[in-house]
């Protein structure tokens, strides 16, 4: 699997995700600076977590207009898989590749802790090694993770099964108490209509081995490596 990780000024999860990609696929990703204009031929593009441009204006707003993003949007629209984690999810919404917006957490606090997620769509390229309804433990680390979209767009997401992950309790209950940031319908991650773009606020790259405290994030990278190995 040939993958590219886009690095913005202020990205800080780029190296973690590079390690996760290499652990699953055996191949180190190519790191691409935001000021480049062309992404080389690759099977997967990753927008990493962090605080690109210091979250100026809105989280992800400046990064979404960086020179490299024209190539990211073109490749996403042509079917290349694109994974946005945390700040990467914010960038994907700002770039118009995913609907909605990530707003300030309802409790106004930066939250950094493990949460439980329910896998709502296990048919996607990214989630196919999880089972439907599986509960996984993955950390979040964000100030602006409160997913919002208008009622019509929310209905389109829900009716098409495009919610990939939802915040839940340890027993799988999807409740207001298990919602860390006020996201509509406890949404933690969504897919685009074609299923080749996933944005999620949690950080699967931070839990890929028992030494790190858990390995529930590993299956996401294994799934990509398996599906894209011969691509």
């Amino acid at each position: 699997m040939k993958s590219c990780v886009i690095v913005f000024p202020g990205s800080n999860c780029d190296r973690d995700v590079a390690i996760a990609l290499e652990a699953s696929s055996g191949a180190a990703p190519q790191m691409i600076w935001h000021g480049e204009t062309e992404i080389p031929e690759c099977d997967l593009i990753v927008l990493p977590g962090g605080f690109s441009y210091g979250d100026y204006l809105r989280s992800g707003a400046m990064a979404a207009r960086a020179p490299i993003m024209r190539s990211v949007v073109a490749k996403a629209n042509a079917g290349t898989p694109v994974l946005g984690l945390c700040n990467g999810f914010q960038i994907l919404t700002e770039a118009g590749l995913l609907p909605g917006a990530l707003m300030r957490n309802a409790g106004l606090k930066f939250i950094c802790r493990d949460v439980y997620l329910k896998v709502e769509n296990s048919g996607a390229l990214f989630t196919r090694l999880y089972s439907h309804g599986q509960i996984v433990r993955i950390p979040i680390s964000h100030h602006d993770g409160n997913y919002f979209t208008d009622a019509a767009a929310l209905d389109r997401l829900e009716s098409a099964g495009r919610v990939a992950f939802r915040y839940c309790a340890a027993d799988g209950a999807v409740s207001a108490a298990a919602n860390p940031n006020g996201s509509l319908n406890n949404i933690a991650g969504i897919l685009n209509g074609a299923g080749n773009v996933l944005g999620m606020m949690p950080h699967p790259e931070r839990l890929i081995a028992p030494e790190l405290g858990g390995s529930d994030g590993r299956a996401l990278f294994d799934a990509l490596a398996e599906a894209l190995q011969c691509a």
Partner: protein
Amino acid sequence: MKARIHITLKKGVLDPQGKAIANALSHLGFDGVEEVRQGKYIEIDLAGSDSTQARARVDAMCAQLLANTVIENYAVELDA
């Protein structure tokens, strides 16, 4: 020419920062604060004196970068 842009959250979009400000005001003893909505204010100095053209350019700036129209509205004032 100067453009003054106010960016505000759309009606119905939760504004937890505005709520926290309203709470703080009431703790300070300011009664009668019914609602607070927080927004952004941006000033842009523009070359040229054609206000029709300036408005079109600032509109495009708002739509493409300054505001996120999923959650925000914007209003533009121009000073000659």
